[in-house]
């Protein structure tokens, strides 16, 4: 074992990854702003969806429990935002903290039932809980504003007014990055490791001193809080909210779309929802005018989703890491390969877009 393989030292690797990330983030921050208000709105929607998707990462990606109720928690955040920010004049961050706190009792209730169930029993239980909350809490007109819904105003912080789409987009981007950073910290901790251990082998985890039930409960609570915070930002994004999408998220298909974009993006990385949301929402917006194409994209996305599940457990994040490694090994060949992949995708997208006009 004396042969030494020459590799990049961790620090230079980190530095390069850091640079790549910084460039990508700068592009994400500036891109939509340069384009238009509408592009910024889409950017904000991507960021908000990524926040709600992060809640799926914690409970499903890390802990392996398939929860089908993220939009129920988001719904709590949405209506809390409507009451506290617009009605009572609270600052948005306080509203977000309040929504997160309010989600805890529901998380505990669902969690206590659900930690006793495994696999699909858990999934079905969350689905029934989502519908039960939809038929009770969200039917409560004083909370949701009934059929008409409620207005939500965007925040003003000191001299900065976030009412415009561009400013609001930046606020959402900062928030989602902060949450991604926080979830990454969680991943590298005692509790994060307990979560992934529970996902892979509950018995082995237990014999190593991990309380499986408590770990699942914590995952459920953290997940619910993130989704509720995402809901607050979702409310501010839409500026007027009605209850239907949160009442029956799976009948309205938003819940399904969320799960799909998280898996396609990559379920094991906090960046997954961000990448998944970006890809799906950019496509849906490019083809907004052609309904037929939207459904075509939905069908293709569903196929991609199944292929990712069967072949790419780490989703697009895994693919990007793989290609990045190829570029590092052989910069020229890898670079050409990546450029080709991107070019083909752009050409195909552009072609469909032209055909749809």
């Amino acid at each position: 074992m004396s042969t030494k393989v020459i590799t990049l030292t961790p620090t230079t690797q980190h530095a390069r990854r850091g640079t790549a990330l910084a460039v990508a983030l700068a592009a994400a921050a500036v891109g939509p702003l340069l384009l238009s208000d509408f592009a910024s709105f889409i950017g904000a929607r991507i960021a908000v969806t990524a926040i709600i998707g992060l809640s799926v990462i914690v409970v499903t990606g890390y802990t392996g429990q398939l929860s089908l109720m993220p939009y129920t928690f988001a719904g709590i955040g949405v209506f809390v935002a409507a009451h506290t920010i617009t009605g009572w004049g609270w600052p948005f961050w306080f509203a977000a903290a309040f929504a997160a706190a309010l989600s805890v009792p529901l998380s505990l209730l669902v969690g206590l039932v659900a930690v006793r169930l495994r696999g699909f029993y858990f999934a079905i239980a969350t689905l029934t809980f989502a519908s039960a909350v939809g038929a009770t809490l969200f039917e409560w007109d004083a909370f949701t504003g009934g059929q008409k819904g409620l207005p939500v105003s965007r925040p003003v912080i000191g001299p900065i007014d976030f009412a415009g789409d561009r400013a609001y987009y930046l606020l959402c981007l900062v928030t989602v990055l902060l949450l991604v950073w926080m979830v990454m910290g969680l991943q590298d901790s005692r509790i994060g490791r307990a979560m992934t251990a529970v996902r892979e082998n509950e018995t082995a985890a237990a014999t190593l001193g991990i309380n499986v039930m408590k770990t699942k409960l914590v995952a459920f609570m953290v997940s619910g809080m993130i989704a509720a915070i995402g809901g607050v930002f979702h409310g501010m994004l839409l500026q007027h909210v009605t209850r239907t999408p949160y009442q029956t998220p799976f009948v309205e298909a938003v819940g399904v779309t969320l799960v799909i974009l998280v898996v396609v993006g990559g379920m094991r990385s906090p960046w997954g929802p961000f990448i998944g949301a970006a890809i799906i929402y950019v496509q849906l917006e490019v083809f907004r005018t052609a309904l037929f194409l939207q459904y075509f994209i939905a069908a293709v996305t569903a196929v991609a989703f199944v292929v990712v599940l069967l072949r790419l457990p780490d989703g697009l994040v895994g693919l990007i890491k793989h290609e990045a490694a190829a570029v590092r090994r052989a910069p020229l060949r890898g670079g050409v390969r990546v450029a080709l992949i991107i070019a083909v995708n752009v050409v195909v997208l552009y072609g469909i877009w032209r055909l749809s006009r």
Partner: protein
């Protein structure tokens, strides 16, 4: 005073007697062997000790504290570590990460501390990594630090599993056939390694092993189990000279047939 003790453990699966009035005792810092033919109830006894199976009657005591009703994770927190006959590792994690998972017992930082990367989390992580370094050096696995279980040979995985359970820093270590599936040369090295582990960690080791030379050379005392019953107990020399043990091994073919049905 014994560190781990059982009193009259009984367990049946349907009509089959799995454990029959099993009372054993292990002292601090002792290496104790458990031998018996296939189906004698050795792994069943381990499962009862670690809380994966509940006995019909009898009790398990750790440092004279009754842990019979404790859950598996509570027993692990109390210092009971075990390996499995069929290796259980976390396949999606590298060797290093597997060892970090097993540090759970020693770490304290909260969810919020981790999310905000507070100093308590930093201290926790630094300590955890130091302990991983120490264990990897002790078991000589440094070169596999960043490998995943799927990339390693079965023999290596046995040592990884050992390293994982050592990361728990157990007071009692239950090893279920640590030498099965590993090369002869490695098996020979296992004896001295187990003694070294005992000396470094100061833990007791309770060992199931079919490799008789290894078991007899490393154990200070041996229990022999057959049909779920302790049939002999004493020094390795005493137990191997015991008539019951000899006949249970001579009559092994017939009995395993029965056990298999």
């Amino acid at each position: 005073m014994s560190l781990l003790r059982t009193e009259g453990l009984d367990l049946r699966f349907g009509g089959v007697v799995a454990l029959d009035d099993v009372s054993i005792s292990i002292d601090e810092g002792e290496i104790v062997g458990l031998l018996g033919p296939n189906g004698a109830g050795k792994s069943t006894l381990f499962n009862v000790l670690s809380g994966l199976l509940a006995p019909a009657s009898g009790s398990v005591l750790l440092s004279e504290r009754d842990i019979s009703r404790a859950l598996p994770y509570e027993r692990a927190l109390a210092g009971l570590g075990r390996t499995f006959q069929h290796i259980k590792l976390f396949p999606g994690h590298t060797v290093e990460e597997n060892l970090l998972i097993a540090q759970h017992r020693h770490l304290r930082s909260s969810v919020l501390a981790a999310m905000l990367r507070l100093p308590s989390w930093r201290r926790d992580e630094a300590e955890a990594r130091d302990r991983v370094d120490a264990v990897l050096e002790l078991i000589d696995l440094e070169r596999y630090r960043h490998h995943r279980p799927g990339e390693l040979s079965y023999g290596t995985l046995r040592f990884v599993e050992l390293a994982v359970v050592l990361s728990l820093q157990p007071r009692v270590l239950l090893l279920d056939e640590p030498a099965s599936g590993i090369a002869q040369r490695e098996a020979e090295a296992l004896g001295p390694l187990l003694r070294e582990i005992r000396d470094v960690l100061g833990c007791a080791i309770f060992l199931i092993e079919h490799d008789m030379p290894l078991l007899l050379s490393v154990s200070e005392r041996v229990y022999a189990l057959d049909f779920g019953k302790v049939i002999a107990h004493g020094t390795p020399e005493e137990v191997t000279a015991d008539d019951h043990v000899l006949s249970s091994y001579l009559g092994r073919t017939r009995r395993t047939d029965v056990a298999a049905n």
